[in-house]
Every structure is written in structure tokens, then in C-alpha cells.
């Protein structure tokens, strides 16, 4: 299983923080190697904990968390310990442990055990506490340079199964804890976690609808548009560097693309008469499919990255909207009302051949293809309310995901295909929720002011 650890290690390096340079690191064969970084930035070293690499020989930990019967894994995250003061409980150690618990719980298949039930100590009797796994972290150092050793232990096997050591400035401690949590998720399931992702959404809290970005925990909200009129339908580019949206501030429903590395400018990408909206980027980013009405009917068009029309994809077949690519880019899911009612269709992107896949109910819209390619989530009208469903891209029997009160709309998948974010309207209040892909564990994500709608989950940021 050494290979597994190394995969994780490489992944950790790839996900380095954008504003930190890797100045020194130890390569996977433990030979020091220097990577040049931009000057003046903090030192960040990532080391494997050597004792653990030799100890590693245990069974592969790869849990099947996709079944509806899956029971959450109990994990203990005792307070992080300052190695220089091992017998005191530090506030920082408590806060970071709480952050790690929140991050692990977010993924929907872990239930962390409250530290108060065992005093938050790292030497508790874990079998007695009821933990299957334990996350223990020690840290030591100054404000400039902190060394953090993080371990994941399998309680039943009595073995450490993941050990990582990070050196970083103290102000990066939260990012490093989240990085470790993503590595824990990967160790347990084979797929990294999604701590380093964002969600774009529309909010009316300023009085007009504008586009916002937020991390998954709701800690840092960024208002992207300030058009002060009406901005809707955010869509990330596959590399997360751009955000497309439709805004009406110039009197037409124009499609804009803004670079997220800055917050001053945007550019009209398509401003043809009528509707210009909701692009689906091809997964490799080389073209976009948008809905235009320039020829008199809302239809799908392929545009190149310079905004010119490459080809028209739908003609004389009702309205056509809400395009979404399969992860391999070979197929396009979209909504058409060509039969008189909106249903989900799949188009072979090359040949243009179209197949209808939803037949249950008379209103099915907003398809979202899961990143692992297995499912298409969508909004369906059921008994007068809007609920979320998923269906195989080959069609067949849909699986109903939500059934609670109110309207559930506009699903968007997490990059690990484990969670779906959507907006739910209850008592005229629209808020963002997540639900596990098996339809379990629906929860409200944020308690922001105003209404939040049409969420879009980014890919992993780095």
C-alpha cells in the first residue's frame, strides 16, 4: 500500500496554496529536491512522517460510501496539542480540531464524535469512545514557522494509516488543516475531499440580484458582480479561473465572463439581440454551448472562446436551454419542450443525435451531470412541488433524492460526486442546501441574509 500513500503525497503537493511557493520539499523517494518559487514568500515544507512509511503494510482502506444503507463512520478528532505544552488544552488546538471535525463531517459519510464526551484528550480509550478512526495532531513552533504532525489511526487495526507533517506560517494553519482533511477523505475512500472548493450563487441581499462566491463552510463570501440591476446563472470555467453569468444592466440579457483573479472588470462574451445565457463549457475549455434567441427562438449554439458562433445545435424543436456536458465532453444534457412540456434530453455532441431520457412527470429541468459520469441530477415536478431526482445517462427509472416540504431546484454536484448543492424554497425563503448523492442527509449550508439561488459548485481550486 505504499503506492497509495505516495499518490496522496503527490496530490498534496499539487494542491499547494496559490500564494505560497514550495521552496523546499522532499520528493517521493525521500531525496531532497529544490523547486524554485517566487521570492519573498513563506517557507512551506511537506514531509512524510518517516516512521509511518515503514509501518505501512495494512489493508487498503477504501470504503463504499455510495449505498443508501451506508452508516456514517465514527471518527474522533481530539483537540490538537501544542507539543511544547502537552498537558494544557490550548484554545487554538480546540479551534483547529473543531475546524477539522466540520470539514470531515461536511463530506456526508463521517460523523465526528464530540470531544467533550471524552475530554478532548488524545490518549482516550478509542474503542470505548466508539471511534473507528482517530485524527491526532501535534503542533509546535513560533508565529513564523509552525510544524504540524497529523496522523490518522485505524482504531480496529490499531495502526496509523496516514501521517503527514507540514511546516508553514501560523496564518496558513486553517488551509493546512483542510488539506489534511482532504487527504484523510482520500485515504478512506480513494477520492480526495472537497474542502478546497467554492460555490457560486445568486443572492438578492443587496436589493438586486448579484453573483457571489463562497467557500463550502460559508466563512468567506465574495460579491463578484456589482451591476446593480439583475445578474443570474453563474457558471465556472473548468479551470475555475473564469466565471460566466448573464446580466441585464445594459438593457439586453448579455452573457459576461469575468476573470476571478481580479475584481475590477468583466467583458460581454455574447451580446446578441435577445437571450444570451447559461453557458456549458466543454470540459477541456475549448468551446461553450449557450442559449441564444437571436434567430427568433431560444436555441443552443456552440461558440468558440472568442465568442463567435461555430454551429447551431438545435432548430425547430421547442425551446432549448440549460446545457451541461458529460465529464468526457462527448455528450450534452439539456432541456427542451419540443413535446410540449420541458424534459431532459441528451445530445451526442459530434453527431447531434438527440435522445430524451426523462419520461416520468410533465416538467423536468436543470440537468447536472455528475463528475464521475454515473448520474444526471435534475429538478422534477412531483405532486405540484419541485423535487430533485437523479437518473442514469442511459435513461431508465429515476431515483427521487428529495421529498421534503417546499421546492428543491437547480442541483450542482461536488467535484467528488458525493454531494449535491441546490436551492430550496420554504415559506418564500430560498436558501442553499446540500444532500448526499444517495438522497440522505439533507442540510442547510448557510444562514445568509436574503435569498440564495442557482448554486454552482466549482472544481477543486488547485
Amino acid at each position: 500500500m505504499k503506492e497509495k500513500i505516495l499518490d496522496c503525497y503527490i496530490f498534496t503537493l499539487r494542491k499547494r496554496l496559490s500564494d505560497i511557493s514550495l521552496i523546499g520539499m522532499i520528493s517521493k523517494i525521500f531525496t531532497p529536491r529544490i523547486v524554485a518559487g517566487s521570492a519573498g514568500l513563506a517557507l512551506l515544507t511537506i514531509l512524510l512522517l518517516l516512521p509511518f512509511s515503514s509501518a505501512w503494510a495494512g489493508k487498503r482502506v477504501n470504503l463504499d460510501i455510495t449505498s443508501a444503507e451506508f452508516k456514517k463512520i465514527p471518527v474522533a478528532v481530539p483537540y490538537f496539542v501544542d507539543s511544547n505544552r502537552p498537558n494544557e488544552i490550548q484554545q487554538a488546538g480546540q479551534e483547529l480540531a473543531m475546524l477539522a471535525s466540520k470539514a470531515l463531517d461536511f463530506h456526508g459519510f463521517i460523523k465526528t464524535i464530540s470531544p467533550t464526551s471524552y475530554g478532548g484528550r488524545q490518549d482516550a480509550d478509542w474503542a470505548n469512545v466508539g471511534a473507528d478512526f482517530v485524527v491526532t495532531v501535534q503542533y509546535a513552533g513560533s508565529a513564523d514557522n509552525v510544524v504540524m504532525e497529523m496522523r490518522l489511526t485505524d482504531v480496529l487495526e490499531g495502526k496509523m494509516i496516514l501521517g503527514l507533517k507540514y511546516t508553514f506560517p501560523w496564518n496558513k494553519r486553517k488551509q493546512m488543516v483542510l488539506k489534511f482533511c482532504d487527504a484523510i477523505i482520500e485515504k478512506l475512500t480513494g477520492i480526495p475531499g472537497v474542502c478546497d472548493t467554492k460555490i457560486a450563487f445568486v443572492s438578492d441581499k443587496t436589493g438586486q440580484k448579484e453573483i457571489f462566491l463562497v467557500d463550502i463552510f460559508g466563512d468567506s463570501v465574495r460579491q463578484v458582480t456589482r451591476h446593480k440591476f439583475l445578474a443570474v446563472s453563474p457558471r465556472f470555467s473548468p479551470d475555475n479561473k473564469k466565471l460566466a453569468y448573464t446580466s441585464y444592466h445594459r438593457g439586453n440579457a448579455n452573457l459576461y465572463i469575468t476573470e476571478l483573479s481580479q475584481d475590477k472588470t468583466t467583458q460581454a462574451f455574447s451580446r446578441r439581440s435577445g437571450l444570451n445565457m447559461a453557458p456549458a463549457w466543454t470540459p477541456n475549455g475549448d468551446s461553450l454551448v449557450v442559449t441564444l434567441s437571436k434567430d427568433g427562438n431560444p436555441d443552443l449554439y456552440q461558440l468558440s472562446t472568442d465568442g463567435s458562433v461555430v454551429r447551431r445545435l438545435t432548430t425547430n424543436a421547442g425551446l432549448n436551454v440549460a446545457p451541461c456536458f458529460s465529464p468526457d465532453g462527448s455528450k450534452l444534457a439539456f432541456v427542451s419542450d419540443r413535446t410540449g412540456e420541458p424534459q431532459v434530453y441528451i445530445m451526442d455532441y459530434k453527431s447531434g443525435t438527440v435522445n430524451r431520457i426523462t419520461y416520468q412527470g410533465n416538467e423536468n429541468t436543470t440537468p447536472a451531470w455528475s463528475p464521475d459520469g454515473k448520474w444526471i441530477a435534475y429538478t422534477g415536478k412531483d405532486d405540484g412541488r419541485y423535487q430533485l431526482f437523479k437518473i442514469s445517462p442511459e435513461g431508465g427509472q429515476p431515483v427521487q433524492l428529495t421529498s421534503s416540504a417546499g421546492d428543491h431546484e437547480a442541483p450542482s454536484w461536488s467535484p467528488d460526486s458525493r454531494l449535491i448543492v441546490f436551492s430550496r424554497a420554504v415559506n418564500s425563503q430560498k436558501k442553499l442546501y446540500v444532500i448526499s448523492q444517495n438522497g440522505k442527509d439533507m442540510r442547510q449550508l448557510y444562514s445568509f441574509e436574503g435569498n440564495q439561488t442557482t448554486p454552482q459548485w466549482s472544481n477543486r481550486m488547485n
Binding site: K209, L230, V232, S233, T246, Y248, G251, N252, A253, S273, G274, L275, M277, A278, T291, S293, G296, N297, P298, L319, N320, V321, A322, V335, E341, P342, E363, T365, T366, T379, Y386, E409, A410, S428, T453, T454
Partner: protein, 187 residues
């Protein structure tokens, strides 16, 4: 909408519904007396020409059919034109709405310099993206109707607001019926 308009909170539900009923085009039940039918949305109204300095020289012969001078008739439509209303999830011009759109055509024919935007709107039911396309088709249907009446299509823009700019914020058929609407707005 043009920048000439500012949003003002106007208690306009009586005005709107009175004119609406007076035109004889409402099929909706009148809400029980004394019970508010729905919350009322702000109505955009033109900015009055006020300021500390003297105004610009202007014609003695005012044109009421400019974006700056036009008055709302009903919905967000500029008079003397009238909005047209749609059935749920439909975009065809209903028989009882044809007199309205033909009246709008007469107005446009008589005022050849007037440019308008046909603004399609939907009720809140259904997803935002779908409603955006549905509102666009409602606007396009009215545009086609006007073009068939002989109005040059270069005078007619379309804008769909989908469900994003409801006129009435209620969650009942009375609000929904008023929100499923094409407005005719002078540009």
C-alpha cells in the same frame, strides 16, 4: 429598463388592478374584500425633471412616447400600449389577448419613430433557467405577431426576465397570472 426610471414604492395595487379589470381582460377571481391579495412590488416610475439648475431647452410640443416621458399603463407597459397575459407554461397569444396586441400594433403604426422592447415574464413556478427561455419565447411570440401586423422587426427588441422580476410577489394564482406577462416598453 432605462436609467431614467427609478424604483419608487408606490401603493399601486389598486391602480393596477382597477385598470386591469376595466380593460375587461382579467379572468381572475376578485379576492375577498379586505383581504390583501398579494404583496405589492415596487413600480418603476420615471424620474421627475427636478434640480437646482435651470433645465435644458425643450420643445413646446412634448412627445409622450419617449422613454423619458412615457407613462405606465399596466404592469410595466408604457401607455397607451397594454401588456398581454399568458396561461401557465404557455407562450401562444391567447384569443382574449389579441385585441390588446393589435391595439399595440395600431399605436406603433401611428408612431413610426417609437422603438420598443417586448419584455417576457413568468410566474415563479419552474426553474430559473427554463423560465428565462420561456419568457424569451413569450416576448418572441408577441414580436412575431407585431411583425405580421406590419411593424418592422428592427423596431422591436426582446428581453426575457424569466421569473426574476415579478410584478406581484404573492404565491397564488392571482399574482402568478399577472406575472405571466409581456410588457411593451418604449426605449
Amino acid at each position: 429598463m432605462k436609467g431614467d426610471f427609478v424604483k419608487m414604492l408606490v401603493v399601486a395595487s389598486l391602480v393596477v388592478s382597477a385598470s386591469f379589470l376595466a380593460t375587461g381582460c382579467s379572468k381572475k377571481a376578485v379576492p375577498p374584500e379586505g383581504k390583501p391579495a398579494a404583496e405589492v412590488a415596487p413600480i418603476e416610475k420615471q424620474k421627475p425633471d427636478i434640480g437646482d439648475k435651470m433645465g435644458k431647452t425643450e420643445s413646446l410640443d412634448s412627445n409622450p412616447y419617449t422613454a423619458a416621458n412615457a407613462k405606465i399603463s399596466e404592469g410595466r407597459t408604457h401607455g397607451p400600449m397594454l401588456p398581454v397575459y399568458f396561461d401557465f407554461d404557455k407562450s401562444d397569444i391567447r384569443g382574449d389577448q389579441k385585441a390588446r396586441i393589435e391595439g399595440n400594433g395600431d399605436f406603433l403604426r401611428a408612431n413610426a419613430k417609437v422603438q420598443i422592447a417586448v419584455e417576457g415574464n413568468c410566474d415563479e413556478r419552474g426553474t430559473n433557467d427554463y423560465n428565462m427561455a420561456l419568457g424569451e419565447r413569450r416576448a418572441q411570440q408577441a414580436k412575431k405577431y407585431l411583425v405580421n401586423l406590419g411593424i418592422a422587426d428592427t423596431r422591436l427588441d426582446t428581453v426575457s426576465y424569466g421569473e426574476e422580476k415579478p410584478l406581484l410577489y404573492g404565491h397564488d394564482e392571482l399574482s402568478w397570472a399577472q406575472n405571466r406577462r409581456d410588457d411593451f416598453v418604449i426605449r
